[in-house]
Symmetry: C2
Subunit: 184 residues, 2 copies
């Protein structure tokens, strides 16, 4: 669990990366950047920052911000009721990201698996995203991604986000953030 | 109808504005920028450039690029079959845009109505969008927008786009582009 101080520092770092990529946020948006550590307690290694621009019952748009070599862990978006599962398009805006999806494993792959969590990664077909490149991930298919040496900004365009239903390969993961008081 | 030479020049101008806003396109995307003059033959005054990143049966994302004082004319997105009409979120990335929607007219308003087309504008509730500001337009409601003195880049996040069903207030408008050979 991250402390409020740690969350605030992570938000500031994400804001700096967004600024490097000329992505403008309002002051209010900066204070509301979501810091996802997935409950693993190793945000620098496994986590990402998220700016949700809009999430209606029809579509969603976000910026995903990663620090250098930071990894968003493997997951899929399953069907939920009448929704056949979130479909999402990742478009790299700044930096570089290696996206891994189901398919023929790429060898050698560029990303390094997060130490201690190697077993939680099972798909290794590599898509390299540099600014201007994009890729659309079908519903209910496994994927994960890791930023390159500068970090990355990725615009995510998608159907409705229902993060609480995401299925992670790593059973230890808790998707929804828990923030501790600094005294905890 | 615009000639191929005029379209290419308009694409180059849009690419320059996108570059000023640090929005990176691939070379292929630059050649496919849609130049919409709405059949009015006055692109500098009434028109816009569009980069479609993705348009699936669930969601759509575009960049809209306007030159200084350029106007996207008043229209609405009606229901189409089971679709209750396109819902869209405009987020200003660079420059400035005045968006007009249904509601209490703003006086004085900042935009100037395109000369000769004044009767084709009927909604005047003004939303000023600067970088970081955004606004969501409900389905089937009239709206139009005009760029400020620098031009503008607006990210559009939406449900599926079906441009051919858009309903414009100006009956002269043809939404889908027609391009003439340079000899025409």
């Amino acid at each position: 669990m991250m402390t409020r101080t740690q969350v605030t520092a992570a938000q500031a770092r994400a804001a700096t990366i967004l600024s490097a990529g000329s992505v403008v946020l309002t002051t209010n948006e900066q204070t509301q950047i979501e810091i996802a550590d997935f409950g693993l307690g190793e945000f620098e290694r496994t986590g990402l920052a998220i700016v949700v621009y809009v999430n209606t019952d029809r579509y969603c748009a976000k910026e995903l911000v990663l620090t250098p070599q930071q990894t968003c862990p493997e997951h899929r978006h399953p069907p939920v009721g009448a929704d056949r599962g979130k479909e999402e398009t990742f478009r790299c805006r700044w930096g570089q990201v290696w996206l891994y999806v189901e398919g023929e494993p790429t060898a050698p792959m560029q990303a390094r698996l997060p130490a201690g969590s190697e077993e939680a990664y099972t798909v290794f077909h590599q898509i390299t995203l540099i600014p201007g490149a994009q890729y659309t991930i079908p519903p209910n298919t496994k994927h994960w991604f890791q930023a390159g040496p500068q970090g990355a900004i990725v615009s995510e365009f998608s159907s409705t986000s229902r993060d609480e239903y995401d299925v992670f390969t790593d059973q230890r993961i808790r998707r929804l953030p828990e923030v501790a008081g600094d005294a905890d």
